[in-house]
């Protein structure tokens, strides 16, 4: 039995759903335009890039594969941060953020699995191997789906929020495993060549399109995430209003 009023402050007012709706409504068009433009530039650069002397044309898969793999991990990190928000500040918007990131993250993970698999066929001669990197990404995919199932199973979003946040945080341990699996274990998969402490080891003609694509994917992620959050907020409002209306009808008619 404790006082559970949310702390009032600039953070709270910033994360106020109404204000978020207004703010994101203004930002969204620009964000969407920026993602479209960057994506077009990135695609152009990807196709203009020279073919790899070893891998031939299949190297172009990289421009999709690597950014989506990065985004899959980033999206989970965003969710983990939001989960801390849910558990510590109990702010409803944090839960909205975590929940609406789920399908997007699952989609990026799927894309990275799919492109990796398509790439693996010519490079390794098989669609799938159970090495550490591939398996840990697969487990990430399962965790996205499991969390989605959890949300779907609870009819009341308020009740799903905290268990889902706990689970998201427990599962975060998988992210460093994905990142460092190539170094900790002997795997078929490429070791990191871009995000390294000693600078990228990849040729600039491939590096620049990759970076532009990564920026484009990030922008796309934020565009989609904002849109999904707006939908989720509106969805919760609609259901709240419907239930409200129903209850007032039910009780007022029954008791004049």
């Amino acid at each position: 039995m404790s006082d559970t009023t949310a702390p009032q402050g600039w953070f709270t007012s910033l994360a106020n759903p109404t204000r978020f709706l207004a703010l994101s409504g203004r930002v969204l068009p620009y964000l969407a335009a920026a993602s479209a433009v960057t994506l077009l530039i990135g695609l152009y650069m990807s196709f203009a890039a020279p073919e790899d002397y070893q891998q031939g044309i299949t190297v172009r898969i990289m421009f999709i594969h690597v950014p989506s793999a990065w985004l899959a991990m980033m999206c989970y990190s965003v969710m983990a941060v939001a989960s801390i928000g849910t558990l510590v500040w109990r702010h409803p918007l944090a839960d909205v953020a975590a929940k609406s990131a789920l399908p997007i993250g699952a989609a990026f993970t799927f894309l990275s699995l799919l492109t990796g698999s398509l790439w693996g066929r010519p490079m390794w001669g098989t669609w799938w191997v159970w090495d550490a990197r591939l398996t840990s990404v697969f487990v990430l995919f399962l965790m996205y789906l499991g969390l989605m199932a959890l949300h779907k199973a609870m009819d009341d979003p308020a009740r799903a929020a905290r268990p889902a946040a706990v689970l998201t945080l427990v599962g975060f341990i998988n992210i460093p495993i994905i990142k460092f699996s190539v170094e900790w274990w002997n795997t078929l998969h490429q070791p990191a060549s871009v995000m390294r402490l000693d600078g990228p080891t990849i040729h600039p003609t491939l590096l620049y399109p990759l970076l532009v694509m990564a920026i484009a994917f990030t922008l796309i992620f934020f565009t989609l995430h904002f849109m999904a959050m707006r939908n989720e907020i509106l969805r919760r409002r609609v259901s709240a209003m419907r239930r409200q209306a129903a209850q007032s009808i039910g009780s007022s008619e029954a008791r004049p």
Partner: protein
């Protein structure tokens, strides 16, 4: 009866999508296997059909106990029992069908993806799909008998599985051996598959009758 089918499917999809859960569970089981066996692709391909079948059996078992118990707990079962005998058998049949549509069929459809992960050949995957298609309904129908017997027991869940596992094991064995027969050369695929289908048909006919009788008897 269509109303019942619709209701049961609605409940299955509404409350956390039984279908999606089954497939996810299946994926999770398959993902766990290489951690135990090791990432040896040849070995995985060899035990693949068995793993897929075990996963499907387990996925069908989990939650089977609720087939009638959920209806009993909220009192619906009493109303379902207030029908004449034929209608009751039809009701049980429809409930089994809904259970299979919600949990068995998605497993069959997910099998190719899992076959890929287990490095199984296209032929082998196809054989597993075919045997699952014939075999999973049998599990639902046998399951109904167990679920009906255990409906009055508070912790029926486990008991259901105990009752039906021995009955389900022949299904498992013929399913697995038909899957292997399809890929290993000397063994013919059709004999075990025909036996599997015969078992499935037998249970489809017997299961609902036995389950209806058990339900009538268990009413208290």
């Amino acid at each position: 009866m269509m109303a019942l089918l619709k209701r049961d499917l609605a409940i299955a999809t509404r409350s956390g999508g039984a279908a999606m859960l089954g497939v996810l569970f299946f994926l999770a089981v398959v993902a766990v296997i290489p951690f135990g066996i090791g990432p040896d692709l040849n070995l995985l391909a060899r035990i693949g059909p068995a793993i897929l079948w075990i996963g499907a059996l387990l996925a069908s078992l989990l939650g089977l106990d609720r087939l009638f118990q959920a209806d009993r707990e909220d009192g619906s079962l009493d109303l379902l029992l207030m029908q004449d005998w034929l209608a009751l058998v039809a009701t049980v049949f429809v409930k089994c069908l809904a259970h299979w549509l919600a949990t068995g069929l998605p497993l069959v459809l997910a099998a190719p993806l899992l076959g890929l992960l287990m490095n199984m050949s296209a032929l082998s995957t196809g054989a597993v799909m075919l045997t699952l298609l014939a075999g999973t309904p049998a599990i639902s129908f046998i399951g109904a008998v167990g679920a009906a017997i255990a409906v009055a027991l508070p912790r029926g869940g486990l008991l259901v599985s105990i009752l039906i596992l021995p009955l389900a094991i022949p299904v498992l064995i013929f399913g697995v051996s038909a899957s292997y027969a399809a890929v290993t050369d000397p063994d013919p695929f059709w004999p075990p598959f025909m036996i599997l289908s015969a078992i499935a048909l037998f249970f489809a006919a017997l299961g609902p009758v036995a389950a209806a009788a058990a339900l009538k008897g268990a009413s208290d």
